[in-house]
Symmetry: C2
Subunit: 337 residues, 2 copies
């Protein structure tokens, strides 16, 4: 069972992998992504993965066989395990919990050659629906407090397999950065009686120079305080703290703006590695007036994030006003969507 440990200074929780601890020899610096060979995420190789949790399927094809369009499986090397009782305790100075939680993989398409920008809009919609459906399913588990959905694209963004996929980690604690957002936006709300994200959206729509693309329900922009060059956020125009409460009509627009934003990043930057993180409120019954779910996309263009992690001090080498301009001016080829 993996362990969750809490740092006594800043309160950060960390997963410690006691199940498959890595030996020094296991770290191959600059390991390339495995190409060729058998891909466990490809159609026909369903038996290479753990048992399917959910899937969109054509017709009535049975689980763990071909015929799926998106497919969800447990991570083969999970950072957390779903079985067992939550056991939080102290160890001298330190706080400790067993690593209860879920770690799932959402395979976005059966086609090994395609990434989100290559899919049709309705295919991206299916991925968004799967994000939502898995979130709704897991929130029933009373041991869990937060559901983190993310996508690592490219080796230097942490991807180890090439086939298009996202990941979901369900946690018995709230991750530190999310908690900082919750605390900060709650303080802002207390003072001004307004959601800070709604205010940011208004200011970005007014200033215009950091906008990338918008549609009826969403706005994509380079935030005024970008920690990474070409960082892009997608914010829903409708205030809502919990991604689970998204409406069907909004899913269509979300798929469209996500596909176009990733396509613009690809064309402007030459297929850069990136991380995509869905920031939603914690698992709660009620909507929060002070938090606003959104997606953060951070291309990994420089190696600078090292000391920046340790200091919490970031340098954005392209001002967001310029980055947004480059992204707006990308010439989109006739889109398949």
């Amino acid at each position: 069972m993996p362990e969750l440990r809490r740092e006594p200074i800043t309160g950060r929780w960390v997963i410690v992998d006691t199940d498959h601890p890595k030996h020094p020899k296991d770290f191959v610096v600059d390991r390339p992504i495995k190409k060729g060979g058998l891909c466990p995420f490809c159609v026909g190789n369903e038996s290479m993965t753990p048992t399917e949790i959910d899937a969109h399927r054509e017709g009535a094809t049975p689980p763990n066989t071909p015929g799926w369009l998106t497919r969800v499986i447990p991570n083969k090397f999970p950072a957390l395990r779903i079985e067992g009782e939550l056991d939080k305790r102290g160890l001298g100075l330190f706080d400790l919990s067993n690593g209860i939680g879920a770690h799932e993989v959402i395979i976005e398409t059966p086609d090994h050659q395609k990434e989100i920008p290559d899919l049709l809009d309705h295919e991206v919609e299916r991925v968004m629906w799967m994000y939502r459906n898995r979130s709704v399913d897991l929130r029933g588990d009373s041991r869990l407090r937060y559901i983190l959905i993310f996508k690592n694209y490219g080796r230097s963004a942490g991807a180890s397999l090439e086939h298009a996929h996202s990941q979901l980690i369900a946690l018995p604690i709230i991750p530190k950065r999310v908690n900082e957002e919750l605390v900060g936006s709650s303080q802002y709300y207390e003072y001004r009686d307004r959601c800070v994200f709604c205010d940011i959206l208004q200011q970005e729509l007014h200033d215009r120079d950091r906008l990338v693309v918008q549609n009826k329900h969403y706005v994509a922009f380079a935030p005024y305080v970008s920690s990474f060059a070409f960082e892009t956020w997608i914010l829903p125009r409708t205030h809502r703290s919990d991604f689970c409460h998204i409406e069907p009509e909004e899913v269509i627009d979300l798929a469209r703006i996500l596909r176009e934003t990733l396509l613009r990043l690809r064309l402007a930057l030459g297929d850069p590695p990136y991380n995509l993180i869905l920031h939603s409120g914690p698992i709660e019954k009620e909507e929060r007036p002070d938090y606003h779910w959104h997606i953060e996309i951070t291309p990994k263009l420089t190696g600078l994030a090292g000391f920046e992690w340790g200091s919490g001090f970031y340098i954005a080498s392209t001002p967001p006003e310029l980055a947004a301009g480059y992204l707006r001016n990308v010439q989109l080829v006739a889109s398949a969507g």
Copy 2:
């Protein structure tokens, strides 16, 4: 003039490089470290760098000529500039400051072939003295609130030049992660009337299984809550918040333990990229009872830090107890120190 921008949600300050903004074409993904050719940090190439700020020299050799042992120069592409008045203001929702500060490079040795583990102990002492001397010099500037000293080693840790060097950034604000440490350790002190770092040191010395190496004045250990595999901290046994107040006798021991720790990491992990960050208290007249300066070394062994940055949620793939064991058991070759 670069800009400092403050995020309204979490309060993070970010430097935005408006002086040399990068175009999409400037990001070459996986750019290798420049090897061969003329190295601006090598002896004889002093004219390739901005004018020397300080140096240890043999005899009475003049500045900006050979004869130096360690050498400090302004960063050629500084993230901040030292000239001008500090100008903090609001911009709609956002907070903004001009980028006043210093950005210096400390060249650790004239020898292009050597890194810290290859130096003699007294050569590493010189580097530590230079860390201290530059800190003491800059704290006289009333516009500055924090001095961040760090070293990026290897491409994936952010180094762009091969020749052994550290960097110093002096800031008009306190970086977020340091501030979190200050707040957390102050809360701990209020509750228990003890320094949390002193307590951690006691527990690590008692538990023993995370110790890497120790001497009279310092202890190197893998912290119970490692955010990265093989993360190693060096803590002084004497409580002191400000690195500037280090005693000459302690500098000798610091050089020794730093050299040996980096040598053990090199031998255990095959010369891994790493970031080294010196965490000291902010620029203040008085010592703090609740903060304790220390060095954090984080090898960059996996690409996972991407989504982890965005979520604040880390996975350590080698438990610190095992990592410390591997580092302790390294067979040191007959040391030159």
